[in-house]
């Protein structure tokens, strides 16, 4: 079972490295988003410093959802049938896909994090905590995105429907990430946001695994 997960996980990553959709399309797109915001809100540096982290989290959620809907994540029907006949449990497919998405999202987050730092010059926040918060939020977005991708699987409108399915229920993830960084800046306690993030990730992992089989039956 674990072997199946790692095999599929590696296949997802190699598929993505070859396709290059995340690094060559979605990351630049996220960067552009961060670039155009000051054009809209003005380049008054104290303001940018204030809203920098917030923009980071919004771009991470909205464009992170697109990462989970990337082409190499959507196995066609025939490949899903092949995996089913090879005895690969649907839950294994979910875990492999979610892990791949989480890793790609973390890479995405690091890049746009750097871009945010350069463009908005926000106050430096304790990287130790960030190293915990960012992966947890990326895992959450990855799981919601993977579930939404499976729910909307096989639909032409998948790339527009999935984000609508993801963002509203990902509010706790966005709030936890954003409020935790805000708490770090103001020196407030952020343990409850880390706790909330962990609970959200556990609930989503369970939901993903438990709903994998019903989703797969046709």
């Amino acid at each position: 079972m674990i072997r199946h997960v790692t095999t599929l996980f590696v296949a997802h990553l190699r598929d993505e490295r070859r396709a290059g959709e995340v690094m060559l399309v979605i990351v630049p797109f996220g960067t552009v988003a961060l670039l155009v915001v000051p054009m809209a809100v003005g380049i008054d540096t104290p303001l940018l410093d204030r809203i920098g982290p917030g923009m980071f989290w919004v771009v991470l959620l909205l464009f992170g959802t697109i990462v989970t809907q990337r082409q190499s994540a959507s196995l066609g029907e025939s490949r899903r049938d092949m995996l089913t006949l090879l005895g690969v449990d649907p839950a294994v497919r979910f875990v492999a896909a979610a892990l791949a998405a989480a890793l790609l999202l973390t890479v995405f987050a690091v890049v746009i994090g750097a871009v945010t730092f350069v463009l908005y010059d926000p106050e430096v926040v304790d990287p130790g905590w960030l190293a915990a918060i960012v992966p947890l939020t990326c895992a959450g977005i990855a799981m919601v995105g993977t579930i939404a991708g499976n729910v909307a699987g096989g639909l032409g409108t998948r790339s527009s429907l999935a984000p609508l399915l993801v963002v509203p229920i990902a509010v706790p993830i966005l709030l936890a990430g954003a409020q935790a960084t805000e708490g770090l800046r103001m020196g407030l306690g952020i343990l409850r946001w880390i706790l909330l993030l962990s609970v959200v990730d556990i609930v989503l992992a369970l939901a993903g695994v438990l709903t994998a089989r019903p989703l797969e039956e046709s």
Binding site: V151, L155, T157, L161, I169, W193, L196, V203, L215
Partner: protein, 236 residues
């Protein structure tokens, strides 16, 4: 043919309407408080209809009877209607009292998030033409979405805190009593019966639409759902 449930719903709605207009105004907020008689029931139904969609979704996955899927879909559609009304009446209440159409009150934010979860759920349902697939996928998303609602609630409440005056959205609040409380409870009850009538009628429509869309027994379509063909020996 109008069903008894619908007649009851109509009468109760009328009574709630009249009560809402004739009961004495609130000591503190004056007549504005009457908006509660439409806002609170709508907000209550936003939650109830989502719970019903969840239960019906789970029931469908267990029993595979389309009846449950029709109820889940109907409850979501009626639910999104009331959630929208809750938001609109929330704004209409907010404008005179706080001078703004939208306040970041935790409960209003939560209602708004649920509104968009509903819209996602309904958009998902409309995307499938095969009833079986639609039912299964919608049930799964319904469960995942509702599993998130408590987490959304906590995150929003921790973020905004519940420092709003309790009378804004809390039904049956101790500060209002006597006829005002009666009017509010009547409205909540009437709206719930209206909800039940609307859902049963809308579920019926969904059933008819599925029957209309499904190929009837003799029209077999090669390559799609295949009815069990009898093996006939025919040596030519």
């Amino acid at each position: 043919m109008i069903r008894p449930l619908e007649i009851a719903a109509g009468l109760m709605l009328a009574t709630a309407l009249v009560l809402g207009l004739v009961v004495p105004p609130d000591a503190v907020q004056g007549d504005l408080q009457r908006i509660m008689y439409v806002h609170v029931p709508s907000a209550w139904l936003a939650y109830l209809s989502f719970a019903a969609t969840l239960v019906a979704g789970v029931a469908y996955l267990k029993t595979r009877r389309m009846r449950w899927d029709h109820i889940a879909g109907a409850s979501a559609e009626v639910g999104v209607l009331f959630t929208g009304l809750a938001l609109v009446t929330g704004s209409i209440w907010g404008k005179p009292v706080w001078g703004v159409w939208w306040t970041w009150d935790a409960r209003l934010v939560l209602t708004a998030v649920m509104f968009f979860v509903y819209l996602g759920y309904l958009a998902l349902r409309r995307s499938f033409d095969d009833p079986e697939t639609r039912a299964r996928r919608a049930a799964v998303y319904g469960i995942v979405a509702v599993a998130q609602i408590p987490l959304v609630h906590f995150s929003v409440v921790w973020w905004r805190g519940l420092h709003q005056p309790p009378t804004l959205l809390r039904p049956g609040d101790p500060q209002i009593d006597g006829p005002l409380l009666a009017a509010l409870l009547a409205a909540v009850f009437a709206f719930t019966v209206v909800y039940a009538a609307l859902v049963s009628r809308r579920a019926e429509i969904a059933r008819l639409e599925d029957l209309l869309a499904a190929p009837s027994a003799d029209e077999t379509v090669a390559g799609s759902g295949v009815s069990a063909p009898p093996i006939v020996r025919d040596t030519r």
